[in-house]
Subunit: 368 residues, 4 copies
């Protein structure tokens, strides 16, 4: 009998992607898909999946809360405030929770409230959350009960920087993160502003210096710059709250692109000492050797969205001026709905349930 | 009798846009459109223009060189090496030259050769070139004989930064310029890499830290930071060569977008002293007050490509953290083929010929 | 003193395009732009126009109704029921009315109600309306007081067919009209279904056999097949109502494309007698000789959206099998917001006001 | 030991899709991928696949011809003339051949030469070819040695029509097929005409009445109208050549869309007798009951590209006017590279090798 899994918020874009991934997952069964807006609709119809998953119909949150208590784990693709309530209730019932909202990502309560505009989760609960950037916190994720699944931008910004920060190769005082994202990152929107006519051929920056992923990134980089974080079993979001290190502040400039999916991030900093790009590439390769979902390329031109769309991959490359203090530009790409949301959630679910980490996830891309 | 104008390289994207603009220009007449590839083809057919301009057929460069000598001015939408030869020949014949290539943009010969891979123009000729960022060098452009029309990225990066540099409001040591551009910036391409299937829904960074517009930007910022440049009659590209100031180095990260037109640049630096965004906005507004083609907005979200595509406008806004040393993010948008190339060239042509600077240019946008 | 013009429904896509065109029109002044949703907003801001037009602010319909009575003419970019009420009120006040809705396009009351789902206009009023397919009804449009501006699909389907029908060259019993349209044809939509993520890379047929432009097309083709219609001063929508000819029924299949603008229609029928494509092309050329906004091409591949977007042009070409009964395929392209709506409305306004028919309208395209 | 399969023409779009599908196929192994242009390149690199398939490098056709003789079957994604030569050579060696070109699709030699511009295959070889429209010729495809894999447009046009023709529900004298296709249908192109800038936001019809898929469609429809074709073991392309039925001629109008993938076809004909759309839908459902890759929908609006892109599905729906002689419009959608090429080829390969027909193929879609 396979572990039973439930999804709250199953009809949003992250929820649909979770549904698609779990429908093809060989080791779990989807017990329910909860969507207040689509109660009674066929999952096959809305999510385009086949088999047992397709035969489900969407249920209300009320109905799902009862069903959830018989599940091994639930995935929350819900707003932070709803995630907070559900994680509390289901955690007490012993159900594993992977939350795709920001509710448990930020250890510092003041930073959380500034970013999300409501009270931070109780610190006792927050301290049990493991930050789900899988490649950096794998040990703590195995058997975790509450996972704070990372933000899409935070994943794209953190994976390339952390190995260079840990190696002391780059400085931390003037990191600039620029990231372009497809429109699905804004979620399903019934709004003129997100209509095809308004977005097509258009680009704009938004939430410049105020985006809620900025403190999330700052916290991860601080942990990386401050020393290894995966050894003590409580990693990520807890770190900053526990005062072990400050935040590394960054400039973060997100931009909205007229495409449905994908994030390309370019991260600028400086070399702490003289080094050629090839050395930085080697450090990145060593850090991610054997990782099924991180690929390090030799040239920044090799990192593009076509390589990653529809896959759980993050692609990375680096360019630099080799003198001490020389400029460093890291480029990363991922699918915001897969490695940036649902795919990484399934990766974490696999660890939580002690399954093969790659089960149900593909690194194969469509060439387009 | 209106002044006669010629275009070399009239069938590339910048050349077509020049043709379109001159066809609607009330004060000049297009005498010839030279394109080696399309000799004998109707201009109406290829460029989609009406009237006298549409009745022209493309001529060879050989034929055009003779015709050019009877013109008031020519526009060169040609590779740098060809521009260099034509500018020399036509300059000697007393014809005004506006060059859209990089041939005359960079005052420092070594920097030029590093960027363009061939010998810099003779310094005597180079010193006569006026850098055509119209809003910054208007006095020198009036009646100039040789104009180095700026690069598209350089225009987008320089216009927002210069007023803040001149006012001493931002620091110069860690400027990062990130810019996304539509595919027409790469010119007409018969290549798989630029096919719709390969580019659609795709994004990649390219020429990171090595793009030829980087020294061009560096030179303009140095001039701005070093003091007023428009007073002595010889501005822009000449400055650095004459050793009056060093270069201000920048990180420049260009990215290719799956759209035909438009540049959105985000420029990151730090405050030299505490200031609110509103103060920076006021400085930008004061600098560009009365300018027909620069618009300063209150919010960075207001700067998008739809505002500028098809127009000669550059749209600008700024966000910042108000403490001294706080982060500053400038956002600018323009149409790479209009304000970033052909439109600015016509603006400069108008100054060269002592016509109304806005003749033939529109600030009106299509809402899309 | 230029004639004063008003727009009702000025913030929808057709209304914005009207605003843009009138802002650049040399012979009229925009007196008001009415939009219930944007009362008080600057027209420059929303419509991106300059000059006197940009200085207007949107007014309520209530305020506009008073102002309208001092205008030479108003343009109604409003739903059919609102157009009906406004046209009645303003017509009685002697104001010229050009209506962009379907309210006055269909002469047959039963066909109207079937298509629009509400009662047809009073037949006395309907009989005064002139159908505004300018090239076919120019005489009646000069000095008309009420113009039913044609639908976008109807314009694309009717212009190519009418000359061949009048010449008796094609049969009328199995006409199939397939037309793909950009999403602006559906108007401004705050709906998930029209969001970029849902429409991008997607295509679907809609309202197959039930679209409200089908009877409008049927009526025009009947008039054309039945004889000349422009001679008697009362053309178009009146014809069918007056029983002079039946409808020519057509199959009409519209499709929604993931682009903002443009219609490409392909119209299939059969030759009434043997004829080469070149003969059909000659008939089309003769019919539209001297027309400023219709272009007939030799090859169907020459008719594409890039030729027409942003212009008031309709491009046409034809292919056929030359035997009697051979298949004929006409291809036409236009910008649904210009020749398919606002541009044709301005063309009709010019006729109504006895101005140059091309004033404020461009046939020049942007190459893209 | 799994059957060994080879691909000739592995770096074109159909070849890349074949590579992707075979890399995920549980029952075969890819022995070689031949591409003259990419000899020595890693398959993982170009095709983005993992595992054993990714470890291959592209080989020359020369090398591949030797390797092919040890394979159970080869897939030819090559031009028709090359397919003809390879199929002859490999067929004689006893290797199963699935050809994705048009070389073996048309039974009538004169029609073939008119469509493809070179001599038809020898009739002895042609008669052994089975037309691979899987749902219509499954019996003959089991164990076939030479399969003519259908054209993408032909698949989209034939699947919806055949059940209605067989049931005698629609007439055959005025069938009009309009189909829009993504640009990958034109293959990899290093040409300005297929560059993003030229195609973006553009649509045009092409090869109107002259497209090579027209006789292919005509032949299939004739077979369907003339009686059952799957009973005698030799179906499809052979039929017409053997004179058992004439062709049913159709009007075929293909259009090029600014998207990478997908075909939406609308097919217009007339009812042979009075019938409601629901009856036609029931006939279609009955015809395709149990088919893993055909889905019949109730409403034409439900058939869109998002349902089929990346899958081996063909989606179908029908609308009609219920009177005898009433108009019928069928709508179908498929991914031109999957059900329209590589996916159907794998479906046929599975039948040829007596594997599960759905092995390696997915009906699950990405919601986008």
């Amino acid at each position: 009998m396979q572990p039973r899994i439930g999804i709250f918020g199953a009809s949003g874009y992250a929820g649909l992607e979770l549904t698609r991934l779990l429908a093809g997952h060989p080791g779990v069964q989807l017990a329910f898909a909860a969507s207040e807006r689509h109660v009674g609709t066929s999952v096959a119809d809305l999510a385009g999946v086949d088999g047992a998953t397709g035969k489900l119909t969407y249920v209300s949150f009320e109905a799902a809360r009862a069903a959830a208590k018989t599940c091994a784990a639930v995935l929350l693709a819900t707003p932070a405030e709803i995630s907070l309530a559900l994680a509390t209730e289901l955690g007490e019932a012993g159900v594993g929770v992977i939350d795709l909202s920001g509710a448990f990502r930020i250890g510092d309560a003041a930073a959380y409230t500034a970013a999300y505009g409501h009270a931070a989760p109780p610190s006792a609960l927050q301290r049990t959350a493991v930050y789900g950037l899988t490649e950096l916190h794998r040990a703590a994720l195995r058997g975790a009960k509450l996972v704070a699944n990372p933000g899409c931008y935070a994943t794209a910004a953190t994976l390339p920087l952390v190995p260079l920060l840990r190696a002391g190769l780059v400085t931390t005082d003037s990191i600039v993160i620029d990231a372009v994202s497809g429109a699905s990152g804004a979620g399903r929107r019934a709004s003129e502003d997100y209509s095809l006519v308004e977005l097509h051929d258009n680009v704009r920056a938004y939430k410049v210096l105020t985006h809620q992923h900025r403190p999330e990134i700052a916290q991860s980089l601080a942990a990386a710059a401050g020393g290894p974080v995966d050894g003590d079993g409580r990693a990520g979001p807890g770190s900053a709250a526990e005062g072990r290190c400050g935040l590394i502040d960054v400039t973060f400039v997100p931009k909205l692109l007229p495409i449905p999916r994908g994030i390309l991030a370019t991260i600028t900093t400086r070399l702490a000492r003289a080094a050629y790009a090839a050395e930085l590439t080697r450090v990145l390769r060593a850090a991610y050797e054997g990782e099924p979902f991180v690929r390090v390329f030799d040239r920044v031109e090799d990192v593009d969205l076509h390589r990653v769309i529809g896959t759980n991959l993050c692609a990375i490359a680096v360019a630099c001026e080799p003198r001490a203090g020389g400029r460093v530009v890291l480029v990363s790409a991922l699918d915001n709905l897969v490695k940036g949301a649902a795919g990484q959630a399934v990766q974490n679910l696999n660890l939580m349930l002690q399954l093969d980490e790659t089960a149900g996830l593909s690194a194969a891309r469509r060439f387009h």
